[in-house]
């Protein structure tokens, strides 16, 4: 058959079943980014024993944003508003395109596409975290000089990952369920690419 032959020509039939299983699981995990939050920022203070939380999704923000803005006005931080982030308009498409490459790699049994996908995911992570860091830096440093509370030398940049004390608040920045699943998906993608199971000697014959 012509089609089959063509595919065989482009992709030497070297992709094993386990690789394709890993790719499909990875893609399913990646899709969770559309229904689960990726990241969250937690704020704890003596007056907020219940904590304040901002969840970051592929296409927006949720959680106690109004309360956080209400508190941030004391230190002169810019109001957080979803509309300010162009990222949320682009991200669902970029990430969707990436996942499609993964799916294509699995269907076409193409290691080339698998490489493309893996590199794309790495770039996505690097660009994503850099962008996140830039926003955090911007919010933490660009403070209104007329703010009621001014502490010499203090910036309010939340941590990229982990916890940090900001005045009376303990700020935490951690992956949320979607982020964990996507991360796991990335690990599986890498495994699919690099993991070669040892072929048992008696099968060589």
């Amino acid at each position: 058959m012509v089609l089959e032959n063509t595919i065989h020509f482009v992709n030497p039939p070297i992709m094993k079943t386990h690789t394709r299983v890993l790719i499909s699981i990875s893609c399913v995990l990646m899709l969770s980014a559309y229904i689960l939050p990726l990241w969250h920022i937690l704020l704890d203070a003596p007056q907020y024993p219940e904590g304040l939380e901002m969840k970051i999704w592929l296409n927006g923000l949720s959680g106690s944003i109004d309360q956080i803005n209400g508190l941030n006005h004391y230190i002169g931080m810019k109001f957080i508003s979803v509309d300010d982030f162009k990222e949320f308009k682009i991200l669902p498409f970029v990430f969707g395109a990436l996942t499609l490459i993964g799916i294509a790699a699995g269907i076409a049994k193409s290691r080339k596409l698998l490489w493309t996908w893996f590199i794309g995911l790495c770039l996505f992570a690097i660009v994503g975290f850099s962008d996140f860091y830039m926003w955090e830096y911007s919010y933490g440093h660009n403070l209104n000089p007329h703010a009621a509370i001014k502490v010499e030398g203090m910036n309010y940049q939340p941590p990229l990952f982990g916890y940090k004390q900001l005045l009376n608040f303990t700020a935490g920045s951690l992956p949320d369920t979607g982020g964990i699943l996507v991360g796991l998906g990335g690990v599986l993608a890498a495994t699919a690419l690099f993991y070669k199971p040892r072929i048992s000697p008696n099968k060589i014959k």
């Binding site: 219940e50 106690s64 109004d66 309360q67 209400g70 006005h73 004391y74 002169g76 109001f79 209104n144 007329h146 703010a147 009621a148 509370i149």
Partner: protein, 660 residues
């Protein structure tokens, strides 16, 4: 022989010693305080109490919510009395709540809290409470702990036998403590015409099962006795409700003597289901009656008062089978129905026994017409022996009220002998007694009047305090005691003072209320006509001598905060909307020299303070609830100009660079 007086000393001293040993006052019971009391009432910091107790405030007109077992006061819920602390009854939104046919009555005497019930169990939705003085029933919403509705009851004198509810809160009832001529009797009656012209009226207030809305469904016109308390049947006795009546002598003067002559007064058994059917069949008679019906709307954050003009009545003498009387010794006070709905426990406050009536025997006596005379010609009095299940013998002195636990025991307060007595419901034997400090009236067991009592805790609500706490001059707080009823012997755990008079209380497991708690009101749902939902919409509008200030409050400023153009002679309505949308961020609002009160505005709520400035000059206003680190900055100024001056309305707030 020489007489020595010293020799006489020996027998004298012996006599003295003997008399100190044997002449002691008869033994008092040892301490009834539980050895582990401290541990049992200790609720660690940050932990919640297991139970909510709702205590009526008596002459304070309010209801207080306490945590049990700690006895910590959680909130005073303003109901019938104005509360300057948060503006209840002073703000334009809440003033209509206290409207009555007598005009504005900003106080009352609140007696009996009653939790709403579903299938005879406390459901944690609403708390009803009666206004004893100007007859009213209030409904408190337990999601917000706010008074949601107050309905006045016409045709009655003191609404004491109220607001007890039927098994599914189909109705809450009211009845008169002071019989009087019906409201539509406009004759200038003499007091001596009591027997001819005075009447009682059993009010049935229908409660909407979805939203709790009340309406006066009908009133049964009953003989002019004093009606004291009531409890509805449950389970098999679902269709009935029982009232105590005293002063069946129908005295109108010196009742302490003249109303205590008869050996027996009555328990009045009313078949409310039958009454309901009669009304549905159009057998009621509409009569004119004027009574206020006040409803607080949670969306507009404002109350409206409607003056109703008629009520439906049923003359019980015209409908045989609706009402029966059961004789009860000596001025009965409490009437309580056992959890299974089969026993009716009544307490004659001057009686030496506690009679326990049988619902089944009552039905049999009705069937067999075992009558012992008639009241008003044709309302049967059932034979005491025919309806009696048994008597609790020698319970103590002055039995008043009974509640039940989950293990088949009943607990009755003894006013005169100042104790709570525990007895077994099946064999009517006394098990234990514990002193009260002093003279208990009502008592409360968790779920103790419901179909499924929880037991564990009992509150003794006392009438006399004396030496229980550090003295505070002649006027003392009133007392109640928490008693552990888990064991065979009752154990005293805690003794704590209360607001007003803790007339009666109801206790409910906290979980049933916690799950419905509202933390703040959604600003987007605020439908108040004067709500300002954004700072940019704030304004000041003059219309003749009426000035409306549309103000917002958010940490940490009031907007606008500089207002000019107010003149002496103006009526200023300051409508404050709290823009916060977070838990526990109320803002207060107070104006120097305001003649009414301050406001406490919950997040998302709008409240209005009416202010008639009396002196020209600069008048500061500010937030009274320490809301934030910059609370002390949350302030502003009115400029009040002399009458007739031409200062234009002007309002502003400084540029806030941070929030732009």
């Amino acid at each position: 022989m020489k007489f020595s007086p010293y020799k006489l000393l020996v027998p004298a001293l012996a006599l003295l010693a003997g008399s100190t040993i044997y002449g002691c006052k008869p033994g008092k019971a040892g301490s009834s305080v539980d050895a582990d009391a401290a541990q049992k009432v200790y609720v660690a910091p940050g932990k919640y109490d297991e139970v909510y107790a709702f205590l009526s405030g008596g002459f304070s007109g309010q209801v207080a919510a306490y945590g049990i077992p700690s006895g910590r006061l959680l909130k005073v819920i303003p109901v019938f009395s104005q509360n300057p602390e948060n503006g209840y009854g002073y703000s334009e939104e809440t003033k209509p709540m206290l409207n009555t046919s007598h005009g504005f009555v900003p106080w009352d005497d609140s007696h009996h809290p009653e939790l709403s019930k579903t299938n005879g169990e406390d459901d944690g939705r609403w708390l009803f409470i009666n206004g004893n003085n100007t007859p009213r029933i209030a409904r408190i919403d337990l999601a917000t702990f706010k008074t949601a509705e107050i309905i006045e009851l016409p045709n009655i004198g003191g609404n004491h036998a109220s607001p007890f509810c039927t098994e599914n809160t189909e109705y809450v009832v009211g009845n008169t403590r002071f019989s009087e001529p019906l409201d539509n009797n406009k004759t200038d009656n003499s007091i001596a015409s009591f027997k001819q012209t005075f009447k009682g009226a059993v009010s049935f207030v229908k409660v909407n099962k979805d939203n709790g809305a009340m309406n006066l469904a009908f009133q049964l016109i009953v003989p002019a006795f004093n009606y004291d308390l009531a409890h509805a049947g449950k389970g098999p006795s679902h269709d009935w409700i029982f009232f105590t009546c005293y002063n069946t002598e129908q005295a109108h003067t010196l009742l302490e003597v003249n109303a205590s002559q008869r050996d027996k007064d009555f328990i009045m058994a009313v078949n409310w289901k039958k009454a309901e059917e009669l009304i549905a069949a159009g057998k009621g008679t509409k009569i004119s009656a004027k009574y206020a019906h006040n409803v607080y709307n949670e969306k507009t954050h404002a109350a409206t008062s409607v003056m109703e003009s008629e009520t439906q009545t049923i003359d019980i003498t015209k409908f045989p089978g609706l009402v029966y009387y059961m004789p009860c010794p000596k001025s009965p006070h409490g009437v309580d129905v056992s959890p299974d709905g089969l026993s009716i426990v009544a307490s004659g406050k001057l009686a030496a026994v506690i009679p326990v009536f049988s619902y089944q025997k009552m039905l049999d006596a009705i069937d067999k017409k075992q009558y012992d005379g008639m009241v008003e010609g044709n309302i049967p009095v059932l034979k005491y022996e025919a309806v009696l299940r048994g008597e609790v013998k020698k319970p103590g002195l002055g039995p008043l009220h009974t509640e039940f636990d989950d293990k088949g025991y009943a607990y009755t307060t003894m006013f005169v002998s100042s104790e709570v007595v525990k007895w077994k419901l099946d064999n009517l034997e006394i098990i234990d007694r514990i002193p009260s400090y002093y003279s208990p009236g009502h008592l409360s067991v968790v779920g103790g009047d419901s179909k499924k009592p929880f037991g564990k805790y009992l509150l003794s609500l006392n009438k006399i305090t004396k030496d229980r706490y550090l003295p505070t001059g002649p006027e003392l707080a009133q007392a109640c005691q928490l008693i552990d009823i888990t064991g065979n012997k009752m154990k005293l755990l805690l003794d704590f003072p209360t607001i007003g008079k803790p007339h009666y209380a109801q206790m409910i497991l906290a979980d049933k209320i916690l799950k419905n708690q509202v933390k703040f009101f959604k600003l987007e749902d605020n439908k108040n006509a004067f709500a300002t939902k954004s700072e940019k919409d704030t304004k000041v509008v003059r219309n003749g001598n009426r000035v409306d200030v549309y103000m917002t409050a958010i940490r940490s400023h009031l907007a606008p905060d500089n207002i000019e153009g107010i003149k002496i002679g103006d009526e200023v309505y300051v409508h404050v909307t709290n823009l916060e949308q977070d838990w526990d961020v109320p803002h207060g609002f107070a104006i120097k020299g305001a003649n009414n009160a301050e406001l406490l505005v919950m997040p998302g709520e709008t409240c209005t303070l009416k202010w008639a400035p009396g002196l020209a000059g600069i008048v500061p206003f500010y937030c009274t609830d320490f809301c934030s680190a910059l609370h002390q900055e949350m302030q502003g100024y009115f400029r009040v100009s002399p009458a007739g001056s031409n200062v234009p309305i002007k309002f502003s707030i400084g540029e806030n660079p941070v929030t732009q």
